[in-house]
């Protein structure tokens, strides 16, 4: 996917001024956030489980080479093939090769963020295959020619009315006077259209939430059941996964599953969780005859060696974006690459470079909500700060910002000059903004006050008040 992260400011501005998007985004705090809080409060062990989940992932990453080898061995033992791909391009080529060998025409997919990351659909279509997304949200954005705006709710930016319009535009074979106004009728129509695709697909492609080294199983979680149809019906099944998806044992996967759905949708468990390994066994009446796993690096080993390695614990639950005030205001598309929200702000610069992704780690108020809700204990704000430092070190920060920082530094080192300057600035600032008690105008950071107001200063500086208080205390 071609990154558009350099346009973050522009696109965030457009998003804020887009009333349809703003209506759709209201569902994020009302849905995901409230449901997660409820699920967490229903399970007294939730926090303890997140701690164990973190330990499991940290352990798996510390022995990643050995667990990958163990996993590969088990997949082969169950009759599956394993392929290794250093880059996204390599992965795409391997996958189209498998499709070609299978004589495939139609490829059915279930939701997989890594296939978005490596732009698999575009590659397969360019290679002559028809690709159909089967997760309802993914299908909706596929027919609109869009990319996901959320890692677990790809079409969260759409309203019902937009979806109805798209269905009427795309499903031209259906009667034009059909009733299509409620979510239920929309889902039924999608079921009807996609059922046919499931039954006729030659190859099924899924991602994986986890790869279990102990058994060679790929674990997939859905609510719709589409991933199960994708990995049961076609003759060939391909699992596409990055190397950090490895966990040691079934028990370890089980522990992480206990926090995954609760953090993501607020369900206690997703409707369907599937552990699968290898092709259909000799006596099996159904299932694919050929299975492949593509293990992709695409920057993971670099991350592992870097100061950002903790991000590899991520289980893509989406909690950080659900709770992020920036995401809640601008949605996912403004971020301009596969992963939006706080996790995107950390991942994107490592994939597209800090020059392209510059704005993302800067688009944070450091409120800390993301770190607080992250079940994998990833210090997202600290990692964003590391990107900011790098950007500064590489001289990417704008002249204005650098000047501002230099000025600040100059004052910080000269307390007298600082006190003198604030003693002049504060009364003037109060005078200008008095009427509203909030400043809607600031001399330098104009953008800051476009969508919020800055509280007026209290009339005296902290240091002065402190001095006065100390003096008072002494007198008593």
């Amino acid at each position: 996917m071609k990154p558009l992260s350099h346009k973050f400011r522009e696109n965030a501005g457009k998003a804020l001024d887009n009333p349809t998007l703003q209506t759709a985004l209201k569902n994020v705090p009302e849905g995901f956030v409230a449901k997660r809080a409820k699920a967490r409060s229903k399970l007294p062990e939730f926090d303890a489980l997140t701690e164990q989940a973190q330990q499991i992932k940290s352990h798996a990453l510390a022995y990643l080479d050995l667990y990958l080898e163990a996993y590969e061995k088990q997949v082969k033992a169950s009759g599956g093939h394993v392929h290794w791909a250093g880059s996204g391009t390599d992965a795409c080529n391997i996958i189209s090769g498998i499709c070609r060998d299978a004589g495939a025409r139609l490829v059915a997919k279930s939701k997989s963020m890594v296939t978005e990351e490596i732009a698999l659909n575009a590659h397969l279509e360019a290679s002559g295959f028809e690709v159909i997304e089967t997760d309802l949200g993914e299908y909706l954005i596929q027919i609109r020619g869009e990319v996901p705006s959320h890692i677990i709710g790809p079409a969260i930016h759409l309203t019902k009315e937009q979806i109805v319009d798209d269905f009427r535009r795309i499903h031209v074979d259906l009667p034009t006077d059909r009733v299509l106004d409620e979510p239920e009728s929309i889902v039924n129509e999608a079921r009807l259209i996609l059922r046919d695709k499931f039954l006729n697909a030659d190859v099924g492609i899924t991602g994986a939430n986890f790869l279990v080294a102990e058994t060679g199983a790929a674990v997939i979680v859905t609510n719709e059941g589409n991933a199960d149809l994708v990995q049961t019906l076609p003759e060939v099944h391909i699992v596409v996964a990055t190397i950090e998806k490895i966990v040691p044992t079934t028990e370890d996967a089980t522990t992480i599953l206990r926090v995954l759905a609760r953090s993501a949708t607020g369900q206690e468990i997703s409707t369907y969780t599937t552990f699968t390994s290898g092709p259909r066994r000799e006596s099996d009446p159904d299932g694919p005859r050929e299975t492949h796993v593509i293990l992709i690096d695409n920057g993971r080993t670099e991350l592992l060696a870097s100061e950002f390695h903790e991000v590899l614990r991520c289980i893509r639950c989406g909690a950080c974006m659900n709770h992020c005030p920036v995401y809640q205001s601008v949605g996912g598309h403004a971020y301009g690459w596969t992963y939006p929200g706080p996790i995107g702000a950390v991942l994107t610069p490592s994939h597209v470079g800090i020059r392209e992704g510059y704005h993302l780690p800067h688009a944070s108020s450091f409120c800390g909500a993301c770190e607080e809700v992250c079940p994998m204990g990833i210090p997202l704000p600290a990692l964003m700060r590391r990107w900011r430092n790098r950007a500064y070190g590489e001289g990417l920060t704008s002249l204005r910002q650098r000047l501002a920082m230099k000025t600040w530094l100059w004052f910080a080192k000269r307390p007298r000059a600082y006190h003198f300057a604030t003693s002049i600035f504060i009364p003037v600032f109060r005078m200008v903004g008095r009427r509203e008690r909030l400043a809607r105008f600031l001399p330098l950071p104009k953008g800051w006050v476009r969508h919020r107001a800055f509280p007026l200063p209290e009339g005296s500086t902290f240091q002065r008040q402190w001095k006065r208080r100390r003096a008072g205390e002494v007198q008593q």
Binding site: E45, Y63, D135, I163, A190, N226, D228, E251, T254, S277
Partner: protein, 234 residues
């Protein structure tokens, strides 16, 4: 493909080791990993999974009902055809079902309940399927089903209505207990991963989607109706 797959493998594993500052034949590391895989120790199990049998069954039932499934209880397997017929009638469905070849279904009087039963996988034209679960887990109202001739996987996903029967004695507290049972049944100790069934499905309700404005709608791609029948000990 520009790279030989083998070289990509070696390069990735080499990069992982370099990032971890590890060497290839480090016995201590290998031992650590082998041990963890062999022992597959349990982690923390929520206390709600540790209940007396009767409460377990109750929790299993109420949790499933909260996840848009319906639940019925029968005293013994021979009441199964009647219970299935009753459910189908309540849903205005035809009395035709598709099942796997689980021996528990064999000796039952389907004709007596006016049910036409066919056996095998489904190609999508069977409106109702009946499966037998290996385990029911009360922790989250989850059914464990393993693939094979007794339980074709397609039966769990293609029909609009899915009925799952589970023996009361197979209702356990935690997922971990179900996993132990599956390991034992597939003789994993001796046969390794190759003894495992291709698929283990954990099913915890009817198919659903929240993709349209986060409104939950049932029957997205899989079954819209999930009915669970608990078979008592008698």
């Amino acid at each position: 493909m520009t790279d030989h797959p083998l070289s990509a493998r070696d390069r990735i594993l080499g990069n992982v080791r370099a990032a971890l500052k590890a060497t290839e034949n480090d016995n201590a590391r290998t031992f650590m990993v082998q041990k963890r895989l062999k022992l597959h120790k349990r982690n923390l199990i929520p206390s709600r999974a540790e209940l007396p049998m009767e409460s377990k069954v109750r929790l299993f039932q109420t949790t499933l009902e909260g996840q848009s499934a319906s639940v019925a209880k029968i005293a013994a397997a021979d009441a199964l055809p009647g219970a299935v017929a009753q459910y189908l009638a309540s849903q205005n469905l035809e009395k035709t079902i598709r099942t796997g070849d689980d021996p528990i279904f064999e000796g039952l009087d389907w004709d007596g309940a006016m049910i036409t039963r066919s056996i095998g996988a489904t190609a999508g034209d069977d409106p109702v399927a009946l499966s037998m679960a290996n385990y029911g887990v009360c922790e989250t109202g989850t059914l464990f089903l393993t693939s094979g001739p007794r339980n074709p996987t397609s039966l769990s996903f293609l029909p609009m209505t899915h009925i799952i029967a589970v023996n009361e004695r197979d209702i356990v507290g935690s997922y971990e207990e179900a996993w132990d049972g599956i390991r034992l049944a597939s003789d994993m100790e001796r046969r390794g991963a190759s003894g495992l069934p291709r698929t283990v499905n954990l099913i915890s309700g009817a198919s659903r989607t929240g993709d349209i404005e986060q409104t939950i709608i049932l029957g997205a791609h899989g079954p819209k109706n999930l009915h669970v029948i608990i078979i008592g000990k008698a």
